[in-house]
Amino acid sequence: MPTSTQTTEADPAGAPQPSAQAAPAKAPKAVVRPGDRIFSGATLAAGILILLTLAGVALFLLAQSSETIEAQLTDPSAITGGNGFFAYVWPLVIGTLVSSAIALVVATPFALGIALFTTHMAPRRLAPALGYVIDLLAAIPSVVYGLWGLTLAGNLTGFYQWLATWFGWIPIFAPDADGAISSTGRTLLTASLVLSIMILPIITSLTREIFLQTPRLQEEAALALGATRWEMIRMAVLPFGKSGIASATMLGLGRALGETMAVAMILSPGLLTASLLVSGNQTIASEIAQNFPEAAGLRLSELISIGLVLFVITLLVNMAARAIVAKTSVKGS
C-alpha cells in the first residue's frame, strides 16, 4: 500500500480516511479510484460473461439445430426414423425419463439411509471417514463406472432370469416374444442401476448436510421424552429435512437425466420397449454420444437439437429443485 500512487492521489489532503470510506453516499466525495474501477470492472465482466455463456448455450444450440427445424418443416421424412423430429425424439425422452426415474427410486432410499447412518447412527469417531468413503464414489469418473458396469452386466443375467420367471407378468420384467431375456445383461435396467450408484453420492451429500443442521434442541427434546433413536429421527430429523430431501432428489434427477457414459457404454440400444430386461430403449445423452462421432450434415444437426431438448428438460428439473428450496426457506424464516 505505501507504494501505491492511487491511494495518495485519492486522499484529499489528509482528510480523515475512515469517514471518507464510511460515507460513500455523499456525492462529491465519492472519488472512484482507477484501481477500484478497473478491478470492479473486471469482476463485473466475468460475471456478465457467465450470463452470456448461458444465453450462448441456448442460442448456438438453436443455431445449429436450424437444419433440423428446416427439414421438419419441409421434408419430415428426411429425419432419422422417417416420421419427423417428434417421432424421433419422444422414445428417447421416454427412455431418458424412465432410466432416471429408476435410478432415483433406487438411489433415494439408499441416500437417505447413508445420510442417516453417517450423521446419527455410526460411531462418531468413524463418521467423517465414512462420509469420505461416499465422497469417493462421487470422485470416480463416469467412464470408469461405464467400464465397470459393462464388465459386470453379464453377472446380472441370473438375477434377471429369476425376475423374468417370477415377475414376468409385470410388463417391465417381461421376456421378449421368444421368452428370452438379454443374454449380455446390457439392458436399460443395468444402465439405470449403474446410474443410481452414480447419483447416490450427490443425493447423499446434500441430505447429509441437511440432517446435520437438525436443531440439537429438537433432537434432545425427543430423547428427553423417552424416544428411541429411531423415534427421535422420525420426530425431529425427518420432518425438519423434508423439503431439503425433496430438493436433493430433484438435483439428483437432474444429474441422472444428463448422465451419458453409464448408458452409452452399457446399454445396447434399440426401439422403445416396456421390458427392462431385454435390449432396447435409448436415452438422449447416450444417443448423442453413440452417434456423434460419425454424424455429419442433417444427422449432426438432429443430435444437437435433441441435446437442446435435454438441456430444456434438465433446466426445468433444476429450476423446480431451486424453487422447492426457495419456497421453504421463505416459510422457515
Partner: protein, 380 residues
C-alpha cells in the same frame, strides 16, 4: 391427583430396567441370515447368485430381528432395531459397488499396465499386433501417452479459461454485487450452469466453434473439433464449481478484517487483493483442485468436441485430441481388432482407467492437503 390417568395402559408399574438382547445379537442374526439365505438360494434355484442370496438373506435378517427383538424387548425396541439394521445395511450395500469397482480397476488395470503403455501412442496400431498378443506371441502393443498429453493440455487450457472467470465472478458476487439484481441473476445462472448436462456443454462448445468457423471458412466443416473446443466445453462445467467454492470461502472472511483495512485507508480493490484473497487462498486453491478433479474425468463433452485421436497432438488449436476418458471409451467399445483379440483393447482401457482413477484420487487428496496445510494459522 391431577394427572391420574383414565387409561390403564400408561399407569402400569414402570421400571428403569428392560430386557435387552446381548450386544452381539444383531451380528449373530446377520451371519445366520446370510448362511440361511445362501442355503435357500442353492436349494431353490439349483445354482448360486449373489444378488438373489443377498435379497433372501436381507429379508430373513429383518424378519428375524423384528421377531426376536419384538418378542423379547417389545415393539418399540424392535422397530428401532429394524430401522437401525436397514439404515446400516444401506451403507454397507453402497460400499459394495465402490469396493468392487476399485478392486476391478486395480486388479485388471494393474495386470495390464506397464511403463511402455505410458510412453507409447496408438501410432501404427494394427489388429494383427493385438491378435499376436492374445495368442501369446507378443507383448501388449500400443499405449496412451497421447491421451495423457491430451488430458493435461485440455485440462490446463480449461483452467486458464475458467479460474480467472470463476474467481473474479465470485469476487464480484461477494464484494461488489451486494444484493443487486445482476448479482442475483448471476447467482441464479451459476446454479443453472451447475445443472447443465456435461454432453450439452460439449455440444455447446462444438456448436459455438462450428458457427464461428461457418462464417470464417464455410468449407471447413468438422474442423471445429479441436482440443481447445474441448477446453471451452470443460470450462462451462468448471466455472460454476469454481464460482461456488470461491464464493463460499470468500464469505467466510470476517467483515472485521475488511473494515480494519478500510479504516487504515486502504482502497477497496487493494483490500480485496491484499487482505481478503490471501486469507482465503488455501480455500480457493482447494476448491479449484476439486473442480479439476471433477472435469478431468469427463468423457462425453470431450468426445463431441475433440474426437478420438490415435496419435500424439500437441496443438490445442488444430486436429483431434484424445484424453484418458475418451481413450477408455474408444478402446472398450471400438477395439482395434474385433473378436477375441478385443481383449487387448480392453486391457489397455483398464490400464488407462487405473491411471485415471489414481490421478483423480491424487487430486482429491491434494485438495484436502491444501485446505489443511495452507490454511492461515491465525484463522482458527
Amino acid at each position: 391427583m391431577m394427572l391420574t390417568t383414565s387409561d390403564n395402559a400408561t399407569t402400569k408399574t414402570r421400571t428403569l430396567t428392560s430386557k435387552q438382547l446381548p450386544k452381539a445379537t444383531p451380528w449373530i442374526i446377520a451371519v445366520a441370515s446370510i448362511i440361511v439365505g445362501i442355503g435357500i438360494t442353492v436349494v431353490a434355484t439349483g445354482g448360486f447368485s449373489v444378488a438373489i442370496a443377498a435379497i433372501i438373506a436381507g429379508v430373513i435378517n429383518l424378519a428375524a430381528v423384528l421377531i426376536i427383538s419384538g418378542a423379547y424387548e417389545g415393539r418399540r425396541k424392535a422397530v428401532d432395531r429394524v430401522a437401525t439394521t436397514i439404515v446400516t445395511s444401506t451403507f454397507v450395500l453402497a460400499c459394495v459397488p465402490l469396493v468392487s469397482l476399485l478392486w476391478l480397476t486395480v486388479s485388471k488395470g494393474g495386470a495390464a499396465i506397464n511403463f511402455d503403455l505410458l510412453t507409447r501412442t496408438m501410432l501404427g496400431m494394427k489388429g494383427v499386433l493385438d491378435q499376436q498378443y492374445v495368442a501369446g506371441e507378443a507383448s501388449l502393443a500400443g499405449g496412451f501417452y497421447h491421451a495423457i498429453v491430451g488430458t493435461v493440455l485440455i485440462t490446463f487450457a480449461a483452467c486458464v479459461i475458467s479460474i480467472p472467470i470463476g474467481v473474479l465472478t465470485a469476487i464480484y458476487l461477494v464484494e461488489y454485487a451486494g444484493k443487486n439484481r445482476l448479482g442475483k441473476a448471476i447467482t441464479f445462472l451459476v446454479d443453472v450452469m451447475t445443472g447443465i448436462p456435461s454432453i450439452v456443454a460439449g455440444l455447446f462448445a462444438f456448436a459455438l466453434f462450428s458457427t464461428i468457423l461457418g462464417f470464417v471458412m464455410p468449407d471447413a466443416t468438422g474442423s471445429a473439433k479441436t482440443g481447445f473446443t474441448a477446453s471451452v466445453a470443460l470450462s462451462v462445467l468448471m466455472i460454476p464449481i469454481v464460482v461456488r467454492n470461491t464464493e463460499e470461502i470468500l464469505r467466510l472472511v470476517p467483515m472485521d478484517l475488511r473494515e480494519a483495512s478500510y479504516a487504515l485507508g486502504v482502497p477497496k480493490w487493494k483490500t480485496i487483493v491484499k487482505v481478503v484473497l490471501p486469507t482465503s487462498v488455501s480455500g480457493i486453491l482447494s476448491g479449484v483442485t476439486i473442480a479439476i478433479a471433477r472435469v478431468i474425468g469427463e468423457t462425453a463433452p470431450i468426445m463431441v468436441t475433440a474426437g478420438f485421436a490415435k496419435t500424439l497432438n500437441w496443438n490445442l488449436f488444430s486436429g483431434w485430441m484424445s484424453t484418458l476418458p475418451t481413450y477408455i471409451y474408444d478402446s472398450q467399445l471400438r477395439p482395434v481388432s474385433p473378436g477375441d483379440a478385443a481383449l487387448a483393447s480392453s486391457e489397455r482401457a483398464w490400464a488407462a482407467a487405473l491411471v485415471l482413477v489414481i490421478l483423480v484420487m491424487l487430486l482429491n487428496l491434494l485438495a484436502r492437503f491444501i485446505a489443511k496445510v495452507l490454511a492461515p494459522k491465525a484463522g482458527r
